[in-house]
């Protein structure tokens, strides 16, 4: 069912004025009206048989996370005569909002309401379970659409490049997040929570997220949409201490203050810091820019605060990992060897001291950032920076454009900027949108020939409904379906 545009007939008028294609069709079907011109359109003309028309400008967006949806939102708002096909590798939409945002941060997922509004536009089509580079080639999309927009994010990890990184029980935080959030490719990840100590390498917000999930009282997680199997595993977890380890000093910490404050308030968990790491910062902190100053002050206050709890969160600075040590028999992780760094707090430059220390642990989570990759050899791509580069008719936004940093707000801002760039190119006629393009019908042929089952937005709503029902049965907002085949059985068309 197509939804009626609520702004009808105003937006319709606007479209009519912009669409020469439509005018032709309209003239044909209303041929009884003598010499019809744009300026002569009045409401009375709507009394003739309604004509279905397809927008002439056809855009394809790859990836259905925040970057893709905010990009689409802005295009619909400013370009009346436009249709958007959104392709997604997974059967279900929303990217990192579904699979990245921590289950105990449901408020952050409120952006989905905006995305649903975008999806309800009659000129928007979602096509889930379509993988660029495998099911459909980039060159085919370029042929079928006036512009292709890449918003597929970053799907690999940066690596440390140190010995022992591939030992069992060294896992990437990205995969760990995918595991507890039900990302199909990570659902079978083996997570060994039998050790009391975990080392998280990296100090960004993802590192704090995984630490919080490991340390949270299970009752707080039970009421979230965390996957049932990870809830089971976490309820039997032996983990008591999580180290959050970074190379640089407390004044360079990469996490933001909200995430730290949340840890300091987590029931039953003490946030312990080493006071000596703050030596020499007293005179610098008051003069720092506001955000950095407030974060540093919270660290200093926490360092000398009496706390209670039998689990420990230990942000540790000035430790550079040099080797991950495994048992000679089983190969399982036993600890991480660090070189102790010294730092010039003012300049933020860390230097090795030649002193080493081993931190014993049974699980290492590597959380030093994501990496963007090209998913099709024809994509204009800068492999050094891991980002898509602009070329005529090819746009990108979000992490695959800026690199993997920033919160949803920064992605939203980038998506608006980049979609404005596309609109400007249309207006300046540097992007040709006057020639006729087949759009999805051309892609559909390819997909049919490869027997690819796709999921449209109605299909996703079916999956969504079942997930919410299954969640309600166990007191959770949602129980995610983690099996692609099952998603396709429910929502495929």
């Amino acid at each position: 069912m197509r939804k009626q545009n609520p702004d009808f007939p105003l937006s319709f008028f606007k479209s009519v004025q912009e669409s020469s294609h439509f005018t032709t069709m309209w003239k044909r079907s209303c041929s009884f009206l003598p010499s019809l011109k744009h300026s002569q359109f009045t409401a009375s003309h709507f009394s003739c048989t309604p004509v279905h028309f397809e927008p002439t400008k056809k855009i394809c967006i790859i990836g259905s996370g925040p970057a893709g949806f905010y990009f689409a939102q802005n295009l619909f708002k400013k370009v009346p005569d436009i249709s958007i096909d959104m392709l997604e590798k997974l059967p279900v939409p929303y990217g990192l909002v579904r699979y990245g945002v921590a289950p105990d941060h449901p408020e952050v997922k409120n952006v989905i309401n905006t995305f649903e509004k975008v999806a309800s536009n009659k000129n928007f089509k979602f096509h889930g379970n379509v993988t660029l580079g495998r099911d459909v080639k980039f060159s085919e999309l370029r042929q079928a659409y006036h512009a292709v927009v890449l918003t597929y994010g970053c799907n690999e990890d940066r690596e440390l490049g140190i010995p022992g990184e591939n030992l069992p029980n060294v896992i990437s935080a990205r995969k760990f997040v995918g595991w507890y959030n039900g990302l199909p490719e990570d659902k079978d990840l083996e997570v060994d929570l039998s050790s009391e100590t975990v080392v998280v390498l990296g100090q960004g917000n993802v590192a704090v997220d995984v630490s919080r999930i490991l340390l949270s009282p299970i009752d707080l997680l039970k009421v979230t949409d965390i996957t049932e199997y990870s809830l089971q595993a976490l309820s039997q977890s032996k983990v008591k201490t999580v180290y959050l380890i970074g190379r640089r000093g407390p004044l360079q910490a990469a996490f933001t203050i909200k995430e730290l404050r949340e840890m300091t308030k987590l029931p039953g968990v003490q946030t312990l810091l080493q006071k000596e790491h703050f030596a020499g910062t007293e005179n610098i902190i008051p003069n720092l820019p506001r955000a950095r100053k407030r974060l540093s002050e919270l660290l200093v206050t926490t360092a000398s605060k009496e706390q209670e709890g039998s689990r420990y969160f230990r942000p540790t600075f000035l430790h550079k990992p040099v080797e991950i040590l495994g048992s000679s028999e089983s190969g399982v992780v036993q600890g991480v060897k660090f070189e102790i760094n010294d730092i010039d707090h003012e300049k933020g430059i860390a230097r090795g001291t030649g002193k080493y220390e081993v931190n014993e642990c049974g699980l290492v989570l590597r959380s030093i950032g994501y990496k963007g990759t090209s998913v099709d050899s024809d994509i204009p791509f800068d492999s050094n920076r891991g980002v898509v580069v602009h070329e005529n008719g090819v746009y990108s936004a979000g992490w695959i454009h800026t690199g993997p940093t920033g919160v949803i707000l920064s992605t939203m801002s980038d998506a608006y900027d980049q979609s404005n760039r596309l609109i400007e190119d249309i207006n300046k006629k540097t992007l040709n949108v006057t020639n006729s393009k087949p759009g999805f019908s051309a892609i559909e042929n390819t997909l049919n020939s490869k027997s690819v089952v796709t999921v449209n937005f109605e299909g996703w709503k079916k999956i969504d409904k079942i997930e919410v029902e299954r969640g309600a049965a166990v007191g959770k907002p949602r129980e995610k379906i983690v099996d692609v085949a099952e998603m396709l059985r429910i929502g495929g068309s």
Partner: protein, 152 residues
């Protein structure tokens, strides 16, 4: 526009229903409901970075975010987290006098979010935390330049 008109009609019908209902259920609730219906309205103006002014009205106790949502004001990305203090998209800049007039200072949580806002000033607040009141009637707030700019 059509949608907006429908919304207004919808709201008017809703109000009428409340009115009728209370007439039937007795004088006491009637007076309560009249008070609700007659909740004073105050005006607020949002000023875009290019100087364009968007004027709107809201009831006492409505937040600036409520006003934007209820009137479907065209401000890009405003209130992404819907007032749950997990983003800073409803950032507004107040005049120093108005800033001082606000009954509550920003909470730690609001300040944590403001820390991430673009174009932060000493008189910045989140619109979801500012409630309309008699004292603030006619309030004029500036929208920051980097986000919510006049992109059209």
């Amino acid at each position: 526009m059509a949608l907006r008109t429908l919304c207004y009609i919808g709201r008017a019908i809703e109000s009428t229903k409340i009115g009728l209902h209370t007439v039937q259920t007795g004088a006491r609730s009637l007076s309560t409901s009249i008070r609700v219906l007659n909740k004073p309205e105050y005006s607020v103006t949002f000023v875009r970075p290019d100087g364009e002014k968007i004027k709107a009205k809201g009831k006492e106790g409505d937040t600036l975010l409520d006003v934007v949502v209820n009137h479907d004001l065209d401000i890009d990305g405003y209130g992404a987290c819907e007032g749950t203090l997990t983003c800073s998209t409803c950032h507004v800049i107040l005049k120093p006098d108005d800033f001082a007039k606000l009954p509550d200072k920003p909470s730690e949580e609001e300040n944590d979010m403001l820390d991430l806002a673009y174009g932060l000033t000493d008189t910045s607040r989140l619109g979801c935390q500012i409630q309309l009141s008699k004292q603030l009637d006619g309030l004029e707030v500036q929208l920051p330049a980097t986000i919510n700019d006049a992109r059209s």
